[in-house]
């Protein structure tokens, strides 16, 4: 199964700033996913990142707020822009193929002051 590394593991940021989260996979994968998990809640899909095309965003998430890059088949970044306290969450990347389990990184714990 794929091994996924996420950086940073946690950060504390000032409101109005932006943070870029990196996700590195140890094998080539077609589909990568970014989720947000607000405190005490389940995972909400932000977007699907496919190499060579624009990310597909879910309802309620926009590219200006959460720009995503997918430069190759083993790497993706998610930027949380112009952060506010409401953005305090765990952000997780995952990889998966259809009809197969998803594999997750350990997540990035983000706190906004």
């Amino acid at each position: 199964s794929a091994v996924i590394s996420q950086k940073p593991s946690r950060d504390i940021c000032q409101r109005g700033t932006s943070l870029t989260i990196q996700c590195q996979v140890d094998s080539q994968v077609t589909m990568m996913f970014w989720y947000r998990q607000q405190p005490g809640q389940s995972l909400t899909l932000i977007a699907t990142a496919n190499q060579g095309s624009e990310a597909t965003y879910e309802s309620g998430f926009v590219i200006d707020k959460f720009p995503i890059s997918r430069p190759n088949l083993t790497f993706s970044t998610l930027t949380v822009s112009n952060m506010s306290p409401e953005d305090s969450s765990i952000y997780l990347c995952s990889v998966g193929q259809y009809n197969q389990p998803q594999h997750f990184g350990d997540g990035t714990r983000l706190s906004i002051l």
Partner: protein, 111 residues
Amino acid sequence: SQQGEEDPQALSIQEGENATMNCSYKTSINNLQWYRQNSGRGLVHLILIRSNEREKHSGRLRVTLDTSKKSSSLLITASRAADTASYFCATEGTSYDKVIFGPGTSLSVIP
């Protein structure tokens, strides 16, 4: 929304007892997956059951799927304190493009 409900939201049992968690969903699915999350860390995959399967086992875990009722259950037998975690079901739709998570069940196993 593709995903429905999980119940109970929270479950507290004694070590050695069985724990049952239920999941319902709204639309047709390709498969249903169960995950465990310890203390807000990354998720660990437990079992994937495909839409043409009715039951699956893995160690102390048993998952059932009833597509006519759009529901699934996860049974953990002979629970241990180490089973304390949040458990989530997730569904992959028939378009194969994404996996959507349910609200989850918080399980506490008391030694």
